[in-house]
């Protein structure tokens, strides 16, 4: 009888769980999310600030347990979701600005003094579209509005000349 009782006790039903496969699966997910985050990071670079950092799970390298891996996976997933949202919002903003430029070009007088930069459209380099009057005050009075497209980034030579000029004026001021 004691043997029977011992056999039917819950201790006999204990099952060893191998968590290794779960860890392997979580590591696979971490790798996938890391790749996605890397893609979003490069896509966003120069357009929108992303919070892509996920703090270290350990001070020194070690085999992470299931809990740590789950936390890491969740944090990466959160960063990816936030990054996607930020990029979607940015894309919406850029699309709206592209539409604005299109309407400005079609009807400059309806967008007096409005200025849209290339950065606002997600384009590289300098420059902007600016709705302004032809011939200054006369154009303002006559309603002669146009969109002026700036010629881009200042040339290196011009920047150097400005720097030289600034240095010269500083030197003369000091003298």
């Amino acid at each position: 009888m004691p043997d029977l009782l011992a056999r039917d006790s819950p201790i006999g039903l204990r099952v060893e769980v191998d968590e290794r496969l779960a860890r392997v699966e979580l590591r696979r997910q971490v790798g996938h999310l890391e790749r996605e985050l890397a893609t979003l990071f490069t896509e966003a670079f120069g357009r929108v600030e992303l919070d892509y950092r996920v703090a270290a799970m350990a001070a020194e390298p070690r085999i992470l347990d299931l809990g740590d891996l789950e936390r890491l996976r969740d944090e990466l997933a959160e960063r990816v979701a936030d990054a996607r949202l930020s990029l979607r919002e940015r894309a919406r903003f850029e699309t709206a600005n592209r539409e604005l430029v299109r309407r400005m070009l079609a009807s400059p007088a309806d967008f007096k003094w409005v200025q849209v930069s290339r950065d606002d459209l997600g384009l590289p380099g300098c420059g902007h579209w600016h709705s302004r009057p032809r011939l200054g005050p006369i154009g303002m009075l006559m309603g002669w509005w146009r969109v002026k497209i700036s010629s881009g980034c200042p040339l290196a030579g011009r920047l150097a000349a400005v720097e030289q000029e600034a240095k010269a004026s500083q030197a003369s001021g000091a003298g």
Partner: protein, 225 residues
């Protein structure tokens, strides 16, 4: 036939040796490995051909490459592995990302003498994580294993937390995996023999590891000749 033997057949000397990975770590991280080559060396200022090579490398490496680097398969594989072992690759940068960061910050790949320049050339060209040890201090082959209770890293106060992943030799840990090197195992100006080790992770092909070791070795040999 081991890979090392295969390499020696096609004439590359010294052929890389394969270290072992503790079985339970290998089971957790398939694809993890360590290979190394030993060679004579005279650490010191890099000769002109090596410094010229660094300059050429600097001219070929721009900010855009640094930004897109984490999308490339090998740098990505190391980033993922860093995450998987609990490190933050944006704080504790992978070797290739650290070099890219330094290149952008300093405007060039600065020469730090041999063997550091040889490692820079090989890491930037291949993306593989390399490190150098003073081979005369190593006892037996290199391996990747976790620290046992009571073990410590030479030159560092306190014991390593049990389970810390290390690069070890026959005596004990010589470095943290992707971390600091133990005191006495770094390459010093008086070191006469080097061990250049490559840590391979899942996603890094064998051929890239061999290429990295070959490139580092030939660059060190350029300085010796």
């Amino acid at each position: 036939m081991s890979r090392g033997a295969a390499e020696s057949k096609i004439g590359w000397e010294p052929a890389p040796e394969q270290g072992w990975v503790a079985p339970h770590i290998a089971a957790e991280f398939p694809g993890l490995g360590i290979a190394w080559v030993e060679l004579d060396a005279h650490p010191g200022r890099s000769p002109e051909p090596v410094r010229r090579r660094l300059r050429d490398l600097s001219d070929r490496f721009y900010g855009a490459q640094a930004i897109h680097m984490r999308e490339r398969p090998i740098p990505w594989a190391y980033r993922v592995f860093y995450r998987q072992i609990g490190l933050d690759p944006d704080r504790n940068r992978t070797p290739i990302e650290q070099l890219a960061f330094d290149r952008i910050r300093e405007g060039e790949f600065k020469s730090h003498g041999l063997p550091a320049d040889a490692l820079t050339v090989a890491i930037v060209e291949t993306g593989v994580a390399l490190r150098a040890f003073d081979a005369d201090r190593l006892e037996g082959g290199l391996c990747i294993r976790d620290s046992a209770p009571g073990e410590s890293l030479p030159g560092r106060a306190g014991e390593l937390a049990q389970g810390t992943l290390t690069v070890a030799d026959g005596q004990g840990p010589v470095a943290l995996l992707f971390g600091v090197t133990g005191k006495g195992y770094e390459v010093e100006p008086e070191s006469r023999r080097l061990a250049i080790a490559a840590v391979q992770v899942k996603g890094v092909p064998h051929i890239a590891v061999d290429e990295a070791l070959w490139m580092a070795t030939t660059t060190v040999e350029t300085g010796r000749s």
